[in-house]
Structure formats: C-alpha cells, structure tokens
Amino acid sequence: MPSKISGMPTTLAEKVWADHVVRSAENEPDLLYIDLHLVHEVTSPQAFEGLRLAGRMVRRPDLTIATEDHNIPTVDIDKPIADPVSRAQVEALRANCAEFGIRLHSLGDVEQGIVHVVGPQLGLTQPGMTVVCGDSHTSTHGAFGALAFGIGTSEVEHVLATQTLMQTSPKTMAVTVGGRLPPGVTAKDLVLSLITQEGTGGGQGYVVEYRGEAIEALSMEARMTICNMSIEWGAKAGLIAPDATTLDYLRGRPHAPAGDNWDAAVAYWRTLVSDPDAVFDKEVVVDATTLTPFVTWGTNPGQGVPLGGVVPSPADMPDEARRHAAERALDYMALTAGTPMRDIAVDTVFIGSCTNGRIEDLRAAAKVMAGRKVAETVRMLVVPGSARVRLQAEEEGLDVVFKESGAEWRGAGCSMCLGMNPDQLAPGERSASTSNRNFEGRQGKGGRTHLVSPLVAAATAVTGRLSAPTDLMV
C-alpha cells in the first residue's frame, strides 16, 4: 500500500490504514495506532513479564480486554482446572490483568468466550478500527470493515506498552464474489473453495477486501467466517465494507456508540468503502453460483475438494512440490486417491471455534439434527463460541436438540479446534470439524481433520460419513 496523494481514489484498507498512522517516514514502517487489543492466556504471559522486567506500564488498559479461551476445559467449568499447567497459565492471566488493570472475562463469567466471538458480541469491534490480538484468527473482525490482524507475543508486549505497532504497509487485493450462493452452500464452503483455488500462500503480503453480491448478501456471522479464514491463505487481513447489515448487528450492543455518538459514527462508517475507481494490487473473481459444499482431504486448508468429488491423485498435481505434499498428506490422512469423499467415515464431529461457533452456526446445525440421531460410530461435540452464544442457544432450545440427538453440549472455548485442552482426537481418529486448520496433529497428535461447514458437520454426524443435509432426505 504505497502512500497515495490526497484526493486519489483509495481502497477501504488504505483508508483505515491512513486513519491510524501515528508516524510515517521514508523507508521505515508506519507507526500505527491500535484501537482495540484483545488478550488471552496463551500468547500474553511472556508479554506481561517483559513489561515487568522493563518497568513498563500498559499504556491503554481501557482499549484492552482479556478472556480465557485457548486452554480451558469445556466441562466442569465450575471446578478448578484439572491440568495444573493449564491452570497456571490461566492464573497468570488473572494475576496479570489484576496487576495492570485490564478487564478480564474468566471461565464462568457470562461474557467469557473465544476472543473473536466476544469482541463483536460486545459491540467492541466496529468499522474503521484497528484490532489486534496474539492470535492469527484476529482477521475475523475484518467483517466489520476493521483492519484486524494477528500478532505474536513480542508485538503483544509492544501494543501493551505503546498502543501502537510498527507495520510495513501491505499490498491490497480484491476478491469479488459474484452471484448468490446456492441453497445449502455456506460462507465456509465459499472460503474453503477460495483457499484451494489460491493456495495457502496466495494471499501472502495482502490485505484482502471481500466484496460482490454474494458477500453483501451474507449475515455478519457468515462474513466473520470468511474473514476469519483469510489467514489460511496467508493474507495479512481480510475485510468487508460496512453496510446496513453491519449497522443492524451493531445497534444496541453494549459498547456500540449511542445517541449523537451513533449518528457521528455512522456518518464516518459510511465513508468506509473502496472508491469506485480505486486500484488494487491484485484482483480475484469467484462465481458463487457454481459453488457446492466443500471439504478438505489433506493437511493444509488449501487441500480441498467439493464434497461430491474424490480424493485427488498426487499424479494430477501441477508441480513436484504439490505432488510431494499430496503424497505426504494422503499418507498422514490414510486416504487413497480416487476414493469418493462421501465414502470417508469419521469418528468425531466438532462444531465450534472462532470460525463456526456463533449462534447462526449452531442454529444451522441444530436444524439438521432435529429429530435425528448421531450415528453410533460417531462422537459429536458442540462447543459454543462464547458463554452468551451458549445461553442464547439454550433459550432457543438448541441444546435440547443436540442432546436428544446424542451430541455433547459443552461450555465455551477454543476446545478441539486446537486441542490444547482435553478435547482432542486420539491418534488415528478422524474428524469432520467446523474449525479452520487441518494441520497434522492440530486436533490431537495423530488426529486426522476434515474441515467442513456446520451443515456438512451435522449431516456427517448423522450418517457417520462425510455428507450434506441433502443426503439425509432420501
């Protein structure tokens, strides 16, 4: 994103960037102001320790919020955490937040949950903001037209100390999704298809703006699913211009502006669009109307195929690197080229995560599960993204639907998405998971993951094999 002359057409990302530049100098990264810093237990302890060692304070505790999500259990949450190492990490977060005056939502608190579910639900994530967190899925918040990206622990410390970050401006990319998604095809299918099309490094160095008719038609939850997975194709961030859907979601939330502030905010937010003649460094076009339910077969999110397809053959890969990667992946996944994806049996179905753990995801899955049973060969975990999502689902009776079908209804957290808590796959077990990464061992050492949408996850739980809801109608 080279700095542009005032008056030149600019992209949404460039506008948000320019609005946060504290200091800019030739051949140096920009010093960017950070509007919201989300903190959790795993990537923050060393940052707080760094502050202590240097005798530094948290500059803006009032722009910082913490929650417990990554390593916490999703059962017996009213009891002390059984794993002493996890407990020590959570207790370190509690002590650090108390020492530095940071608001924390602990296990058992009604606002506790996955950071990327909590921020939007509190109305803290708003258009035009810069949002960071020591977690790569911070890109989720881009759904509001915010510039949101993951950082490491050293940068967490940097933001705590200065409320700024040194950042080299990225390139810009537009992904225009034309047409409408067909019935039964979700935001997850769209983003998985896109990642397979572009590859895991395809977005590297870019801030991606998702736009077009299909994106405009999506709910905020679905937009968050898309932006969430921007990192899975290497993008710095993904964002979507705010519109009426965004305003409807924000209005009345605890931290959304109110009264005159709301009007002032909306007037500003309406300016947050890419100018019609703005030039992107790269453009990608996707036709939504041709998409179908999409699942992964391999060990990175770019190794995917339509559910109606077959496990690909390494021999068909376009180059040697991908051929080699496919051979390795098939070996790890214990799959044979040519096998129809619908023939693949799973042991576990996981519904949850910052990708697909919001209320809309649970509703979609519950609708499929209603009146049906989880197959005897399958264990199904439903893990709401936050305590609020859990409560709302219970008000709507979704918990009853899941429990009556034989699924486990759990407390909120990251859970089996990354297997830091006891929710893990055993070696050799295979899951259909609504999460975001199918890396080797991601959900437990030796575990095998197929990334799917909530609809495919629910249908798969019923049949025991990768399936779509339409397969249940027969």
């Binding site: 795993v42 990537t43 109305g123 050293s154 991601r442």
Partner: protein, 197 residues
C-alpha cells in the same frame, strides 16, 4: 536484542513446504509462561520418526535451517520462534514465510531471510552431500555464501537495521511518545473503550 551482522554455521536441509507453526511446535507445548524452555517441543511430532532430519547426528550442531516455501504459516504462536532459537537456530531460509512468523522472528532475534527456490535447492544439495558445509549469512551485504556459491537474501530494511544495530522495538517506538500523545488527542470521540459500556 543482540546485534546480528554476519552469521556462519552449518545447516539442516528441511525438504518440506507448508511447515505450519503447529508442526514447528504443537499446541500442547504452549502452556509454559516463560520465554525459554521450548526446545523439546520443536518439531515434536516429527522427531518421533528416527528418519527425521533433525534426528541425524551429522546435523547436530547446525544453526541454519533451510526450508521449503511457506514456512511458518498458520498460528501466531511466537513459541515457534522461541523453540527454534532454544534449539540453536539463528537463521531460517525459505522462499516464502508466513507473515506473522516472519514478524515474530524479527522481534525475537531469529533471522527469517527469504531466498529464491533455486537457491534453496542448491543449498539442500550442497548440505546433503556435505553436512559440514558452512553457510554464511551476511546481513550487511544482504547475501548468503558458501565456499563456492553466493546468492541474495531478502530482509526488509527496518528489520535489517534493527538486527544490525541490536535495537529493542519497543524502545524505538517509545521514542515517539509525543507523536502517540498527539494522535490520541485527535482520536474520534465515539471510538469504544473496554472499561465502560
């Protein structure tokens, strides 16, 4: 941060692409609250395989990791960088890095330098035929050298400057406290805070 100008060491050929940070250090190793002690978690799942390159004693003293494209993708865990440093690596070479990993490396003092794929291939061949091959990474001259080979490395100017000078990023930014104060004074008043609502 320690100054880094030129480093010479032996190297490990990691003939894999798409090495995500979950592979570099699995999540079960992320529960420590210190900055050190992560060496045992480095490539933990792969090290169970006796044939894995890090298990070969000839590479025991190596300080340069030569990897395929898209190294360090995925999770933001800086523990991946700490694990590589704890194990003894000072430099990772790859044709393309995950953004966050490269950023984390730059903060923590591990040099993540981009070299093109042909250079990676050449290094792999050289190291495999002679594991005692010494590789020099010259950050000042922006190149890597072996006895009879040289190629350009790509490191952004700011990271390069900080490495060569051994500068702490936070201290650099705190020099701009006045600019930060001025920016804050002009922030839009409707922006949310976490303390009221």
């Amino acid at each position: 941060m320690e100054k880094f100008t030129v480093h010479t060491g032996t190297a490990v050929p990691l003939r894999r692409g798409n090495v995500d940070t979950d592979q570099i250090i699995p999540s079960v190793y992320l529960k420590r609250i210190t900055r050190t002690g992560f060496a045992d978690g480095l490539f933990a799942d792969w090290r169970g395989d006796p044939g894995f390159v890090l298990n070969q004693p000839v590479y025991g003293a190596a300080s340069v990791l030569v990897a395929g494209p898209d190294f360090g993708t995925g999770s933001s865990r800086e523990h991946a960088v700490w694990a590589l440093l704890d194990y003894g690596f000072r430099v990772v070479l790859s044709p393309r890095f995950g953004d966050i990993f490269r950023g984390n490396s730059g903060k923590a003092g591990l040099l993540a330098a981009v070299v093109d794929q042909p250079t990676i291939e050449a290094l792999w061949s050289m190291i495999e035929s002679d594991p005692s091959t010494e590789v020099t990474i010259d950050l000042v001259g922006k190149e890597i050298r072996t006895r009879d080979y040289a190629a350009a490395i790509e490191v952004d100017d700011y990271t390069r400057w900080r490495f060569v000078e051994g500068l702490d990023d936070i201290a650099v930014s705190l020099n701009y406290a006045d600019e930060i104060d001025a920016y804050e004074a002009g922030r839009r008043s409707f922006k949310p805070t976490t303390l009221s609502g």
